[in-house]
């Protein structure tokens, strides 16, 4: 069985070839990407130890992203469910409405340090692309965003934002026309343009260095939260569960980062179970799918016996991805985190319950999956148990979809 090391950041627990547990991750890339990835790896190692860079990062996290985001108790939901105490890290209050802002800022700063003036990225729900185009505008970078044509359609509000920030949005018409194809196309673009351009991968997926940069960026979430937890409870609670949705896994990786060494804290990842009755889940960890190579890294992948990616289906564009971060594959195999899934219907119900009870918390469909799990387990737990849900996205982008599903006329 794979083992986690204590006292070492999880992003650094890979081997020389970039594999976590000797198995997940790596750099299965075309030779054309070898040089830029080596360059980026070198540069990142330098920057993460550079106090000026860290100060710059923290300045933008604070003043632009709006860190720290609130940590609040959901009194009404707790009362309604009548079990564990439910807290929420309101990451959706980060500028732009999701955790993706952290990674986007870091990549944009790296891009400038690399002396490049052009940045490209993939996006599913549109948040990664929105935040990247935001940051690109701020840092004067030319920006190109790849997005599945189906996602362009269903997440049009975020597309609007990207365009207004001056980014070129490229709808990707191949395959399932969702995130998986957007990432492929983005990597193809970078294969051609890597001499002039930098690439930002929108989640903790892709070649090892991209997994590392992204998780290093979102780790800010748990740094913030650790302080907030101490302020609230005066100590690390004995019985605490951290629930996060997992698509690529960047939000969960960041939400858990500081807590991995605390064995008493349960980490629960919730994947997209898709529509009830459908078998097209975007839940590679929950369903023990086969290990394969996707987007340059080894991981659990929803695929058929031919190694072809299978189409997944989820109401939440952000979780609609057939692979999953090597970090989560590693956390699963080591037994440190537990993974489960919630269906479209459960997520929708959770969205309603949380919105109606809490008002100020209006989770997008991705974190609604995490809330669905909290709603499932909370009633059976004791009042001494603390559940913290990462509400990592704001529902505005999903208004069309949710309204349609719930029959609101809008």
């Amino acid at each position: 069985m794979m083992k986690l090391e204590k006292g070492i950041p999880i992003i650094d627990q890979h081997d020389a070839n970039g594999y976590w547990g000797g198995k997940f991750g790596g750099n299965q890339i075309a030779e054309s990407l070898n040089y830029p990835i080596e360059e980026l790896t070198r540069e990142f190692e330098k920057l993460r130890n550079d106090a000026t860079f860290i100060a710059e990062r923290d300045y933008y996290f604070k003043n632009f992203v709006g860190a720290p985001t609130p940590f609040i108790k959901l009194e009404n939901l707790t009362k309604h469910l009548g079990g564990a105490q439910i807290y929420c890290k309101l990451v959706s209050k980060a500028t732009g409405g999701a955790h993706k802002a952290y990674n986007a800022v870091v990549h944009s700063l790296i891009c400038k340090r690399l002396g490049k003036t052009y940045i490209g990225g993939d996006t599913g729900a549109g948040y990664a692309g929105k935040m990247l185009s935001m940051a690109a505008a701020k840092f004067n970078l030319k920006c190109k965003i790849f997005m599945g044509a189906k996602d362009v359609e269903r997440q049009s509000i975020n597309v609007f934002s990207m365009r207004s920030y001056g980014a070129e949005v490229v709808p990707v018409n191949s395959g399932s026309q969702t995130l998986v194809d957007a990432v492929s196309e983005c990597m193809r673009w970078w294969t051609s343009e890597n001499e002039e351009a930098h690439m930002c991968v929108g989640s903790t997926v892709g070649p090892t260095i991209f997994v590392k940069i992204c998780a290093w960026s979102t780790a800010q979430i748990s740094r913030e939260m650790k302080k907030q937890v101490m302020d609230e409870f005066g100590e690390v609670p004995k019985d605490m569960k951290l629930i996060n949705c997992v698509g690529g896994g960047s939000s969960a990786a960041g939400f858990w980062n500081e807590w991995i060494d605390y064995d008493n804290i349960e980490l629960i990842g919730v994947e997209a179970g898709g529509p009830e009755g459908s078998s097209k889940h975007a839940a590679p960890l929950t369903n023990d799918s086969r290990i394969g190579v996707l987007h340059g890294a080894t991981q659990y992948v929803i695929q058929d016996d031919q190694g072809e990616i299978e189409e997944t289906e989820s109401i939440s564009a952000g979780l609609d991805y057939p692979g999953v971060s090597p970090l989560h594959c590693f956390l699963k195999e080591t037994g440190r985190a537990r993974y489960t899934s919630a269906s479209d219907e459960e997520a929708l119900e959770a969205f309603q319950l949380v919105s109606k009870n809490e008002g100020f918390v209006s989770p997008s469909l991705e974190p609604s999956h995490a809330f669905a799990e909290a709603i499932k387990i909370a009633p059976k737990l004791s009042k001494d148990t603390i559940i913290v849900v990462d509400s990592c996205g704001d529902s505005a982008k999903d208004s069309k979809i949710i309204a349609e599903r719930l029959g609101y006329k809008i």
Partner: protein
């Protein structure tokens, strides 16, 4: 042994004092039967070596033309075994070497050992795996070698000299030089002279290795490479298949004509 067959092909071409013509098309595009006919037509039109794509939907190296071919094959239900059958059938009647070009996940899904076994039984001469870079591929390359299949290492313009030397040191008899940073099927964005400079560097380090030049080569530029070891035309052929299908013409005939033309341009 198939391996020696691939090397013999290169030697034969060398004796003719010309560069080898390689073609790339996607196996099973648009279906098994037509694909076999296309390979036959390509062979009869004078191609020296056939690269047969074992396409992968979530690839990250193919340009639009090859993606279209891959999509056609996959959505027609083509499986890895079908590709092997096409090659096996082809090899019953033709001597022309066949190289499989694919992505790592196709091999993983099939099983590495099984894949190599099947290559042997269907007379595949070599394997190119686009997203399995050196040195991660060394174990697999070794297994290929043990089964007399040439595992073809890839090199590119930004492979620095140290890495170049190391790769060439580990490489089998044949390597592949990606002429420019791009996916397949893009316009040649570096000059033929620059490409040949890198080619010469590779040959200087490893005079004995055959070096295939690929990416961006069309009828317009192919003649520039007549003094090299070999060059590949791919996207142009895939596009011709697409055009033929769209206009309800015979893809095998049209691709064959194109190959004849390329062969002539490369030899003149």
């Amino acid at each position: 042994m198939t391996s020696s067959s691939l090397i013999k092909s290169f030697e034969r071409v060398k004796e003719d004092n010309r560069a080898a013509l390689l073609t790339y098309t996607v196996g099973g595009d648009p279906d098994k039967k037509t694909s076999l006919n296309i390979f036959k037509s390509i062979a009869e039109s004078g191609a020296d070596i056939i690269e047969c794509g074992l396409g992968h939907g979530a690839n990250i190296g193919d340009g639009g033309a090859i993606q279209d071919s891959t999509y056609r094959a996959l959505s027609g239900g083509i499986k890895t075994d079908d590709i092997f059958e096409i090659i096996e059938d082809f090899k019953k009647d033709y001597e022309t070497d066949v190289i499989i070009m694919t992505y790592q996940n196709k091999i993983m899904a099939y099983g590495e050992e099984d894949f190599i076994k099947k290559c042997t039984s269907s007379k595949v001469s070599g394997i190119i795996c686009v997203d399995w870079p050196w040195p991660l591929n060394l174990d697999f390359a070794k297994k290929c070698k043990e089964n007399s299949i040439v595992f073809i290492q890839l090199l590119c313009p930004t492979t620095n000299e140290d890495r170049l030397k190391n790769i060439l040191n580990d490489a089998h008899e044949v390597v592949y030089y990606i002429s420019m940073l791009s996916t397949t099927g893009q316009k040649l964005k570096v000059s033929s002279d620059e490409i040949k400079k890198r080619f010469n560097l590779i040959k200087k380090i490893s005079p004995d290795k055959k070096c295939i030049i690929g990416f961006g080569i069309t009828a317009d530029t192919i003649n520039d490479f007549k003094d090299t070891d070999a060059c590949v035309v791919g996207s142009a052929l895939c596009k011709e298949i697409t055009r033929s299908i769209d206009e309800e013409l015979n893809p095998a005939t049209n691709v064959g004509n194109m190959v004849s033309d390329l062969k002539q341009k490369l030899s003149s």
